[in-house]
């Protein structure tokens, strides 16, 4: 298998895994921000 073929196999899955991690962290922060804002508005 050429380097290009290896990249074609491994590249997308690596990119998707990074995307998943970014989503997980970003979504957690977003939720916390919304919750904080809601609590402030109701304080």
């Amino acid at each position: 298998m050429s380097t290009l073929d290896w990249l074609g196999v491994v590249g997308p899955y690596t990119a998707f895994f990074v995307m998943l991690l970014v989503y997980y962290v970003w979504e957690g922060r977003r939720e916390r921000a919304i919750r904080d804002r809601f609590q402030e508005e109701n304080a």
């Binding site: 298998m1 290009l4 073929d5 990249l7 074609g8 196999v9 997308p12 899955y13 998707f16 895994f17 995307m19 998943l20 989503y23 997980y24 979504e27 957690g28 939720e31 919304i34 919750r35 809601f38 609590q39 109701n42």
Partner: protein, 576 residues
Amino acid sequence: MLSGVPAQTGGIAGGAGVWVLGTFAFYLVVLVGIGLWASRFMDSVGDYVIGGREIGPVVTGFSERASEMSGWLTLGVPADAYGTGIMAFLNGLGMIPADLFAWAGIAKRLRKYTELVRSVTLPTFFETRLDDDTGAVKAVSALVLMLFEGGYVGAQIVAAGTLLQVLTGIEPWIGIVAGGVIVIGYTFLGGYFAVAWSDYFQGAIILAAFIVLPVLAFTEMGLPFEAVAAAAGDSATSITAGMAGWAAVFGVISYAAIGLGVPGNPHIMVRFMGIDEVRNVRLAAMVAQLFMFVAYVGAALVGLYAIAMFGDGALADPDNAMPRLTLDLLPGVIAGIVLAAALAAMMSSADSQLLVATSAVVEDVYHGFLDRDASQQELVRYSRYVTFGLGAASVAFAFVAQNTPIYTLVLDYAWGGLGAAIGPTVIAALWWKRVTATGSVASMIVGTATMVLWTQLSTVLGWVGMMPPESAAFWYGLVTVYGLFPAFILSTITLVVVSLLTEPPENVDEHFDAFDKPLSAIVAGEDAAGSSEYVADGGTTVDSATDATDTSPKVLTERDNVRAHVAASGYWTDDD
């Protein structure tokens, strides 16, 4: 005990029959047990369809994946890898990111909004969100669901029947009938609650199967790529299967376009509606995505190891690649469990799809049009009748379509049709204030028609002598590309253009408030105002002719139940 079990090298069924059948029997007993157990907790249509919104994140994540995996993943993707080589890894190229986008952009909004309007089905969600009092959106979407989900169920039963036939040597029609009885049986018993929990169980087995098989093969022969190249030629170890230029471009597009089906497939969307708490969406997404990584890589590796072990073209039916590898590598008991996982995936998909088709008939057609005052008990009873009726029809369809390849059957006539018809409306309803009911109906019709016609395009062009030759790479690639690609694009363009030419609903800003606020804030506002600002298909409705308010409960959840659920969830008050 295991040492006394013969290795399964003497044929597809070989001496494993008793062990394989024993595993199946055990599996069915567990399945029926789950159904019976779940049926004790079920007393509303909401329970029947989305598990009363009490399904936790890990179970939701697993079942979201297991419900979609089906015979397509367990037999189809290994068969695809057996036929095309490493390009089969691209089956995840569109699916994995599309699923992540669905969790990120659809799951929470859909979960919040459908609870607020007491909706448990996509057609009811569309009707409420698009403020459609003509019933056109609900009717057309319910029709699309009945058509393609029914076809889906039939396809899964074909796959289950094929597997049963391969393993036991029984006649195909017996396998189809047995598959149908299993699917109808436990869907009938427990509805979504049973489905979600048994999907969890099945998902775990599938995951284990796609880990164990490649690992065992690896310990025997190392990485498969050199052996694959030696057996099937260099194209099998090319990421474009040896294609270049436009042929490669359209080949990659076809794989990527599979992901466009995610938002339009209600058996996935219904998982988003059924999760217990909105904040658990993040964890469920992580579980579902990790599941996909393992499953797609594992399934492709199974097909590649089948090439390495049996040789290219040695299997008369490529769908046998996965069961053959299983029987060759594993002792009988373990092989039986792994193959039960394959059957489980098919059952899992079929019962989810059967439930979605059932809810389209009972909720959207019967309860929505024929008898708006039907009681919960009546609706649950009718749900069971309809599940039985649609299941029987799907068995009949499976019998007729039993010789069509499962991979094609699922992608072209079920997955793709739903993706093209429903997907653009799901996304637009949650993200675009300007979308209208007329635009949605037009999009569904165009998406359905394009998907069906594009699938037949090369055949029709061949008949009239206008099929482009392979040397005309662009046109040939365009005609033979996976139909969901053009169908989704045309459906989306139709949705946008027709929506811009028609008037959007007036209260759309209020609808979108629901997406950006915690549930408890909206319910608290509702309390202060003394009445709901939302059109509640399950709560109060106003007769426009008489301006009289009908306060009788309509669908599944009383307003108090929604309040109680939000209060009990502690979503916005817990520290984490």
